[in-house]
């Protein structure tokens, strides 16, 4: 069974068709790459999957459930997390607080429980904090744990977002351009971490322009152009497909 599936999903913004009849399924444990020239509709496709944009038609299924009409904030507890093209840490909150916010089902996030059973909240907080520090360690940010997130570099913010979304123990993670603006050393850390997390059974869907990273990391690639699906297949085959080359180079005869 697919962990995540788009069925004939379209999105129109006024007269513009940003996503046109996209259908694909993501298999458990897969790393799926979504590539295409600028304006192909990749990020809109992500927003549709993440629920922050509602489709004009079609359905989104997550873990076998039709989630097309459910609110964006319910995706993470449903098993799917996302990161953003431009990272969105909470700048004035500490790294640990950033991490703790991603933990699902915390009883202390309900106001009255903080008064009704403060001990339960404290116990949960300790456990969550432990987990947060472990994950920060994994992305080499532990020593900054109590600093506000605004001190991080662009690459570190990407790592923080990855670690943050892992706090929720998601089954699927959508990564929007994880390599953009990340220096080569940190990029290696990032690739290693994605592989390690993937090895534990977490599925990834990523948008990426760095073709080197995509071919190294992804099991399958899906190419979008003008809102629709151009082709899909193994990284090597896709890279050689003349339609892909034409879409990227803008109609230069092959």
């Amino acid at each position: 069974m697919a962990v995540l599936e788009a069925r004939n999903v379209s999105k129109h913004f006024g007269g513009v068709t940003a996503v046109d009849q996209m259908s694909f399924a993501v298999a458990p444990g897969e790393i799926l790459g979504l590539i295409g020239p600028n304006g192909a509709g990749k990020t809109t496709m992500f927003d549709l999957l993440a629920g922050s944009v509602a489709p004009s038609s079609g359905e989104i299924h997550l873990m076998g459930q039709n989630v097309t009409k459910s609110a964006a904030h319910k995706r993470l507890s449903g098993g799917m997390g996302r990161t953003f093209q431009i990272p969105r840490p909470f700048p004035e909150l500490s790294l640990v607080d950033n991490m703790l916010l991603a933990r699902q089902g915390q009883s202390g996030e309900r106001l009255w429980i903080n008064f009704a059973s403060p001990r339960r909240v404290a116990v949960e907080e300790r456990a969550a904090r432990e987990k947060a520090l472990g994950l920060l360690d994994l992305v080499a940010l532990r020593r900054l744990a109590d600093d506000p997130a605004r001190v991080l570099s662009g690459g570190q913010r990407k790592l923080l977002e990855l670690a943050r979304v892992m706090m929720a123990d998601p089954k699927v993670v959508l990564l929007d351009e994880p390599a953009a603006g990340v220096n080569p050393t940190l990029l290696e850390v990032l690739i290693d971490r994605i592989r390690e997390i993937n090895a534990t059974g977490v599925t990834f869907v990523l948008i990426e322009h760095n073709i080197d990273m995509v071919t190294r990391l992804c099991h399958r690639i899906l190419v979008m152009a003008s809102g629709g699906m151009l082709c899909q297949g193994a990284p090597q085959d896709v890279a050689r497909d003349p339609r892909v080359i034409e879409a990227y180079l803008g109609g230069v005869p092959a």
């Binding site: 904030h73 993470l76 953003f84 909470f90 004035e92 909150l93 607080d97 703790l100 106001l111 001190v151």
Partner: protein, 309 residues
């Protein structure tokens, strides 16, 4: 000397009541980033709720419930929280200045209702004979003032501790996250709508309680106590004290109230009699100047909510 002490207690009581209102605003603005400019309306709802429920029978309005003061205060919190939640729900799609304009409108409506719904609020005459705590010792002014100060200080302390507790809790963390980046918070599974309404309601409850406490402290309320000037004063208090800090909210309230009272006393002493009425505006000018100085030299207020770094 005795007079001075009595006045000091009275002054501090008033300042602490403002401190309570400012604590409510700090929850909404300092923690959650909700631009509420309808403070006077919520304070009025709390004041009228408690006043109507606890005061004796009156000829031309509903009343005569004669409930205990504590029950009136509790009801004030509940009713104001509901009104604030409703405001929050109605303005879910509004941000920043649009939210400010709408909440301002809510406050104007509340004040007009207080002024015109005579059968409910007593209209321009207001509500009188609101029972005052320790009314039995009212003829011993100093003792009476100090006992009241004690009650008000205890309420303020309790609210302060409760707010400190929740702002450090996971609940408060979600509010801060919403203030910083609503979309990211949603991606982490937080319902922005639900928390917004909760922050409106919780902050509103504190403002309503402050209104009720003040109504019982003075013993009389009227619609013109709840003009937009009140909202302006409370915002100045939070800016001066330091937005995001509960301690700052309390300190800001005391400082700004001192300047307000000081400017009033100064103009009364220095300015000739026939200019007095116009000189009253100097109080607002003094607060304005104070705000400018703070924004120039210490824009984060006395207490900065920012973390180190």
């Amino acid at each position: 000397m005795i007079d001075l002490m009595g006045y000091g207690a009275f002054f501090l009581s008033t300042a602490l009541i403002f401190g309570l209102i400012t604590l409510g605003l700090n929850l909404q603005w300092g923690l959650t980033g909700l631009f509420n400019v309808g403070i006077s309306g919520f304070v009025a709802i709390g004041a009228y709720t408690s006043a109507i429920l606890t005061s004796p029978d009156a000829v031309d309005r509903v009343g005569g419930f004669d409930m205990p003061i504590a029950l009136g205060w509790l009801a004030a919190m509940v009713v104001t929280a509901l009104a604030a939640a409703l405001t929050g729900f109605a303005t879910l799609r509004l941000k920043a200045d649009y939210l400010a304009i709408t909440t301002f409108g809510v406050a104007v409506v509340v004040q007009l209702v207080a002024l015109n719904a005579q059968g409910l609020t007593g209209g321009p005459f207001g509500v009188a004979f609101i029972p005052r705590p320790f009314a039995g010792v009212q003829d011993q002014a100093v003792l009476f003032n100090f006992l009241n100060l004690g009650v008000i200080a205890a309420v303020t302390l309790a609210v302060y501790l409760a707010l400190e507790h929740v702002s450090r809790s996971p609940w408060g963390r979600v509010l801060r996250a919403l203030r910083e980046d609503e979309r990211a918070a949603i991606s982490l599974g937080k319902s922005a709508r639900s928390y917004r309404i909760q922050a409106f309601a919780a902050g509103g409850a504190v403002m309503g309680l402050a209104g009720a406490v003040q109504a019982h402290f003075i013993g009389f309320i009227a619609p013109n106590s709840y003009l937009p000037t009140l909202t302006f004063q409370v915002w100045a208090m939070l800016m001066v004290g330091g937005s995001g800090s509960n301690r700052g909210a309390l300190l800001g309230a005391v400082v700004v109230w001192s300047i307000w009272v000081g400017a009033g006393a100064f103009s009364a002493a220095v300015i000739p009699g026939d200019w007095q009425a116009r000189a009253a505006s100097l109080q607002i000018v003094a607060i304005g100047v104070m705000l400018c100085l703070i924004l120039l030299w210490r824009p984060q207020g006395f207490f900065s909510a920012r973390r180190r770094g």
